[in-house]
């Protein structure tokens, strides 16, 4: 698990007070929010002239991220067979490949996961730092998980788009940065447009694109758009940070709340694409447990030994299944938090 930066500065009795008020029923959060409400955030999209899509997002705690999406046209090998791009005269160096040239079984979708590349840049951290690689991989896996994304990148049988998602964290990582990066990536991808191929492009032709940017089509077509015959409801996934204190569950935890969390999980959700799902229910892509800061701090050991009254003692052991089920349920259920967040983000674009 990635390291959680910045230890908390609260004393153990302050932590105890916070833990108690959060485990009350109904719980009282320090900033008087309801358990599922988010802090206000500032976002803008399409701010970079040289990117296909971009977004900037500022969270209430002052952390800020910018994501730029760029697309390049690249020659494809033969679809449906195992191809080594290195032999087909392509200059692009393959960075994501790791030698496992996955090809897709179903010829209908086509495409390969490595056509998408995600890089994360955090100031003061090396590119190959464990946390940076982990964050990039988590976002990458979420994006390709629905299996449909790579199908959109196909131009024709010989050409495809290669999409680069560059994630830039502008501020110091004050809290766990994954939700910020994931929401920013979501917005950037929603605002991403790819140039439209000129009409009458054969399946073997070299691609020619319409130079009118207004004619470009969105990578994730809006559910309301009429430009494409099949309006898709597919959306880039988002990752939410959920904590539990006692039996209570909180979304968008502040730094102080994270410090007393019994369990912290990152839930990756996306709108479901398959038709047999109940309409409106989101599909769950991933759950990652994150070590709560309380277990990492030296405070945990000290207080645990002392065991005095009024001092906070971090909970030992894992989280109960019922709490986990409740956490995930609140994210994915119809009309739940996940849907609310996705709907809110849609409003920005």
């Amino acid at each position: 698990m990635p390291p959680t930066p910045l230890p908390t500065l609260l004393s153990s009795s302050e932590l105890s007070y916070l833990h108690t008020s959060l485990s009350l029923s109904p719980p009282i959060r320090p900033d008087a929010r309801s358990p599922t409400s988010f802090r206000p955030l500032v976002a803008e999209t399409d701010l970079l002239p040289t990117a296909n899509g971009s977004a900037r997002l500022c969270f209430a705690d002052g952390t800020e991220a910018i994501v730029g999406v760029k697309a390049e046209v690249e020659r494809t090998g033969v679809v449906g067979k195992k191809v080594d791009l290195r032999d087909s005269g392509v200059e692009e160096d393959i960075e994501m490949g790791d030698g496992d040239d996955k090809t897709v079984g179903s010829g209908k979708v086509g495409g390969e996961d490595r056509w998408l590349e995600v890089t994360v840049d955090i100031p003061g951290q090396r590119d190959d730092d464990a946390m940076v690689v982990f964050l990039g991989q988590m976002i990458f896996e979420g994006l390709v998980a629905d299996g449909e994304f790579r199908g959109r990148l196909v131009v024709n049988e010989r050409w495809h788009w290669r999409v680069f998602v560059d994630i830039l964290l502008l501020s110091a990582p004050l809290t766990y940065p994954l939700p910020l990066l994931s929401l920013t990536t979501h917005l950037a991808l929603l605002s991403t447009h790819l140039p439209a191929p000129v009409a009458g492009l054969g399946k073997d032709d070299d691609p020619l694109f319409n130079d009118d940017w207004d004619a470009a089509f969105p990578l994730y077509p809006s559910a309301y758009s009429k430009s494409r015959a099949k309006a898709s409801i597919a959306r880039p996934p988002i990752t939410l940070l959920v904590i539990s204190v006692g039996d209570n569950i909180f979304f968008d935890p502040s730094h102080a709340e994270l410090a007393v969390a019994d369990a912290v999980i990152a839930v990756t959700i996306a709108s479901s694409t398959s038709e047999n799902r109940n309409d409106g229910e989101l599909s769950l892509l991933a759950i990652r447990t994150i070590d709560p800061p309380s277990r990492l701090s030296s405070l945990a050991a000290e207080v645990g030994q002392a065991g005095e009254d009024g001092a906070w003692k971090p909970k030992k052991g894992g989280m109960s299944r019922s709490v986990l089920r409740k956490m995930v349920g609140m994210c994915v259920e119809k009309g739940g938090v996940g849907q609310e967040v996705l709907g809110g983000l849609e409003g920005f674009t």
Binding site: L47, T50, K70, D93, D127, D166, L170, S171
Partner: protein, 275 residues
């Protein structure tokens, strides 16, 4: 896309490709205090060049092991460090990052970045009253989001604003802009007819680059001057004059941004006091 600039000549066209006259700046837009978690921050656009700058400090020397720490404690003056990162999506072509070390077109990039870092650090070490902050560092972080020429100038301007936002005392604004020369019009046969230009865009082929930054006193003290290419010595004076003139315009704009922010801050304090 870059049109053929080799044939154009100011005495014929009077306008540059983007419609500016020789002594006009691109649209300069700046915001101050854009990021809540940083000590000081700013956002600056010069045309299509977009830069975000954050300042942390003045603060204690951070990390760097025992040796670095000791060195910091002995110091009488603050040191100013600059970190510049050029985003992968900043140019027309995506810049490849050497993942796993050593790869990609890193070398030239790294050299540009190091040059910019050094120039920024040196310029602000001069201008900031470093003696007020012994044993401390000021870190200027510049993110170049979109580059269309004049990266260094935009970075310096943004850093000035971010330092003001951080409340770091300075002698004066450091403002910067580029100036260059039109390509000599060989076909006209006048030989020496090349004119100075202000605030160059990226990829303006054939133009000689020269970069001047002014600051201090009445805005006429040149504290940084970087040449990107060779020029004949008799051209330098003209380019410098144009550059300093541009810097005065930049200074006025930045000053307006700072004053507007000041009014906003004072206004909010007054409003809170009235309650």
């Amino acid at each position: 896309m870059p049109l053929d600039t080799s044939t154009y000549h100011l005495s014929h066209a009077l306008l540059r490709l983007d419609g500016r006259r020789w002594n006009e700046l691109r649209r300069l837009h700046a915001q101050i205090s854009t990021q809540a978690s940083a000590d000081g921050s700013s956002y600056l656009e010069m045309g299509n060049t977009k830069v975000i700058c954050t300042v942390s400090g003045p603060g204690e020397v951070r990390g760097g092991g025992g040796g670095g720490r000791k060195e910091g404690l002995e110091r009488e003056n603050a040191i100013v460090n600059a970190e510049v990162s050029i985003a992968g999506f900043s140019g027309v072509e995506r810049r490849k990052k050497g993942i796993g070390g050593g790869g990609g077109g890193g070398k030239g990039d790294r050299r540009t970045m190091e040059k910019i870092q050094n120039v920024i650090a040196a310029a602000f070490t001069d201008i900031v009253f470093t003696h007020l902050y012994p044993h401390s560092t000021i870190v200027i972080t510049v993110h170049i989001l979109s580059s269309d020429g004049s990266i260094l100038a935009a970075s310096l301007n943004a850093a000035t604003l971010a330092l003001i936002d951080a409340g770091v005392p300075m002698k004066d604004y450091v403002v910067a802009c580029t100036s260059g020369l039109t390509p000599p019009a060989a076909d006209i046969g006048e030989g020496d007819a090349s004119d100075p230009l202000l605030d160059l865009r990226g990829g303006g082929g054939g133009e000689l680059r020269f970069w001047g930054g002014g600051g201090g006193g009445g805005g006429e003290r040149v504290c940084v001057c970087v040449m990107e290419s060779r020029v004949r010595v008799e051209r330098v004076e003209g380019m410098l004059a144009v550059g300093v003139d541009g810097c005065k315009q930049v200074r006025e704009i930045l000053d307006g941004v700072v004053r507007a922010q000041g009014r906003r801050v004072v206004g909010s304090v007054v409003r809170q006091g009235g309650r």
